[in-house]
């Protein structure tokens, strides 16, 4: 990752006094995402087991429509790219460009959530209809919660790049990087979810 590399270069030049210590927050965040990923792994395992051993009644089987979730996948993948562009702009100290890319990323995230809502309302089954329906809503809902949190994080980061006291600059970009890693993680989970839930 280019962003981390530039940070490492910086650490070699900066002096470490007694008060300052190395920043391990990204390491902590990644450990947390491992844990978060295990929650999803548990859900996926439950879904696949249900599917393997609990056959549904024929009238409960419903083929999911693919266009909308495919659009959702594309939206999220593009949003990962736009976040990356925002990071590049931040490295180039082009704050205005960075803010534009950030807003675009958040917008794509919100578009994803809206499109997910449209899908929810067009589905012929509700939360408690059958085991499959419950698992579908639990998995997509839990992921949607992550997207919501991610979009809020991006908007906070966007707000902080606007503040004049330099909360986020190319030299102090932990909040930015944290949001970016989290966002890529949520996108990655969606790809797995899309394959398991819609394609398998």
């Amino acid at each position: 990752m280019t962003t981390t590399a530039s940070l490492n270069q910086e650490s070699e030049t900066s002096s470490t006094s007694e008060q300052e210590h190395a920043d391990h927050r990204l390491f902590g965040l990644i450990s947390f995402l491992v844990a978060d990923g295990m929650t999803f792994a548990g859900f996926f395992a439950a879904y696949l087991t249900f599917k393997a051993v609990n056959p549904l009644m024929p009238d409960a089987i419903y083929e999911l429509e693919l266009p909308l979730p495919t659009l959702n996948t594309v939206l999220l993948l593009i949003s990962s790219a736009t976040f990356h562009r925002a990071g590049k702009a931040l490295d180039e100290r082009n704050t205005r460009k960075c803010q534009t890319w950030l807003l675009l990323t958040a917008g794509l995230g919100i578009a994803f959530l809206a499109s997910q809502m449209v899908e929810y309302f067009s589905l012929p089954f509700g939360l408690t209809d059958n085991l499959y329906a419950s698992t579908f809503y639990a998995l997509t809902g839990f992921h949607g919660l992550h997207v919501t949190l991610g979009a809020i994080m991006i908007l906070i980061v966007w707000w902080q790049t606007r503040s004049p006291d330099g909360r986020i600059t190319n030299l102090n970009k932990f909040p930015f990087e944290a949001a970016e890693i989290y966002w890529h993680f949520v996108d990655g989970i969606w790809v797995v979810l899309f394959i398991i839930l819609y394609l398998l």
Partner: protein, 553 residues
């Protein structure tokens, strides 16, 4: 990279903390304060859990349910299990000693994320209080600490939901703690200190934290699904709605088997610290100990279904999990022999700390043997859900972990307070605990083999006498708490001054004053490359910083 905080935050937060005993009630960021917060809070919950255990044993002194009604018995049983596991052993062997000792061992002034650390602790008291008050309001959960559906779905919902929320909070606390330990051990090591020079407790905590981070989230996810079943009437685990209870069991045990190692691996680490000090010998087989811990971590993640041999698991699954479980005896056995070899030929000072550690070794090997027996399907099918399992489990978590907690308190009390505990009271405590514990739980093996089911308030009258023997043992265990409590309270105020290093120990926490200053060391942290270098010097001078360095130069 270093953190450059905005000017408003650059003030050192520690200078704003209250001092004296009040800091133990504050949102302190000092790892030593947080460690003792965990210990004291955990011990208070242990007393409550112990009273509940007493109520269970009084009830079981007679074959009919006379002391507690059946509903209340189920609630007491559930609360006892949940409190002892999630509010006493897990927070104390991990949170209390981990927070206090790990920064010393890696040569750091605090944990990697002090604020997260304080958050992790302060999740515990509300979770515990919530759980206990649920008993007085709508009745606590009744489905045991496993909360198996459909039982947990059909029993009164309010108590079960509170139980789920409480366990979710405690799980979150545990995950935050685990992330903190991994970051501290891997990232905050003093320059020049290699991983293979760390004291064994660091390795144990690293392995435990890996298990916490990998398995606790699965329990959290499962409990969220279970709460949907209760509140929203979905059917994940409800067979009448097409759900599957076995999936719950798999997901639950994917956490809760590693949870046994989360309770016992740190205890292994603590024993490995205590034995060399009091036997004046290096820890035997350091490298094999490290590989054993990591072996247990890996195997611990793939043995969960041995709790489900009677749940209709297919034969291939039984075979796999029997073999994997039996394999765990190998690394565990290696550790056992290493501890014995550490004691062998040592100049053992037979004080309370080492007595409890030796008690641990004896109890744990008994629990380990019944564990290997339970891993065998034909035997397990015979004794499943009987008192044999109860006996096995308590030999591991009480005879194992709790004995180590007491041993550690005797060992580190001088470090915490600068005062010595009374040795005579300590030995009296040990004798009462050891006899009481074995009298309480050894007969339960017999009860289980003869078919007394667990978790039931009533039983066949033929078991009455043995149950009364067991209850008498429980009474001794309850009484054994009194000399301990008196010892702690009396010695905190009027104990003999211990000096900085009463045990002449070499690990880093003793190479500073007792109790330590706020950032652990005045001046630079010592570089301890040989934490177990006992018996090499004519005269031990652990207070001088250079002994470890001299040896290596």
């Amino acid at each position: 990279m270093s953190i450059s905080l905005p000017p408003s935050l650059q003030e050192d937060p520690k200078t704003l903390q209250p001092t004296g005993w009040l800091r133990y009630l504050s949102f302190s960021l000092d790892h030593k304060v947080i460690g003792l917060q965990y210990l004291i809070c955990g011990f208070l919950f242990y007393l409550i859990g112990g009273l509940l255990a007493g109520a269970i044993r009084i009830e079981l002194s007679s074959p009919i349910s006379d002391f507690l009604s059946r509903d209340v018995y189920n609630q007491v049983l559930t609360l006892h299990g949940t409190i002892m596991i999630f509010l006493w052993i897990v927070p104390v062997v991990n949170g209390a000693f981990g927070n206090y000792l790990i920064p010393f061992y890696v040569g750091a002034r605090d944990m990697a994320f002090p604020r997260l650390n304080a958050v992790a602790f302060w999740l515990i008291p509300p979770a515990g209080l919530m759980l206990i008050t649920s008993y007085f309001i709508n009745g606590a959960a009744q489905s045991g600490w496993t909360a198996y559906p459909p039982l947990s779905i059909t029993t009164p919902a309010a108590g079960q939901i509170v139980w789920i929320l409480s366990v979710l909070l405690l799980g979150g606390s545990s995950i935050f703690g685990g992330i903190n330990f991994i970051a501290t051990i891997l990232k905050l090591r003093r320059p020049g200190l290699k991983l293979m020079q760390l004291p064994m407790y660091c390795w144990a905590m690293l392995g435990t934290s890996i298990l916490v981070v990998l398995s606790t989230p699965v329990l959290a996810g499962t409990l969220i699904l279970l709460s949907f079943d209760i509140v929203a009437h979905t059917g994940f685990f409800n067979p009448t709605l097409g759900g599957n209870v076995i999936v719950y069991q798999h997901l639950f045990w994917f956490y809760s088997h590693p949870a046994v190692y989360i309770m016992v691996l740190p205890a292994f680490g603590l024993v490995s610290e205590i034995l060399p000090v009091h036997a004046r010998k290096p820890l035997f087989g350091y490298t094999t100990m490290v590989y054993s811990i990591m072996g247990i971590v890996v195997l611990g993640l793939v043995v969960w279904a041995h709790h489900m041999f009677t749940s209709g698991t297919p034969p291939w699954m039984r075979l796999f999990f029997t073999i994997a479980t039996s394999f765990i005896a190998v690394p565990t056995g290696i550790k056992f022999f290493n501890w014995v070899a550490t004691l062998w030929g040592g100049r053992i000072s037979l004080n309370s700390a080492i007595l409890f550690s030796c008690g641990f070794i004896v109890n744990f090997v008994l629990g380990g043997i019944t564990g290997v027996a339970l891993a065998q399907v034909p035997f397990d099918v015979h004794v499943h859900d009987t008192y044999f399992v109860v006996a096995h489990f308590h030999y591991i978590v009480y005879g194992g972990s709790v004995f180590v907690i007491f041993s550690s308190i005797y060992h580190w009390f001088p470090k915490f307070t600068g005062k010595m505990l009374n040795e005579n009271l300590g030995k009296f405590h040990f004798v009462l605990t050891f006899i009481g514990f074995n009298l309480c739980f050894a007969p339960q093996h017999w009860l289980g083999l003869n078919g007394m089911p667990r978790r039931v308030a009533e039983y066949d009258p033929q078991f009455t006498l043995v149950n009364q023997i067991s209850s008498f043992g429980a009474l001794l265990m309850a009484l054994s708490t009194l000399p301990f409590l008196w010892n702690i309270i009396y010695s905190s105020f009027k104990g003999k001054a211990s000096g900085d290093n009463p045990w002449q120990a070499l690990t880093a926490e003793w190479l500073t004053s007792s109790p330590p200053p706020i950032e652990n060391w005045i001046g630079e942290a010592p570089l301890v490359k040989k934490p177990y270098g006992y018996g090499h010097q004519e005269k031990l001078q652990p207070s001088s910083k250079s002994i470890n360095e001299d040896e290596n130069s």
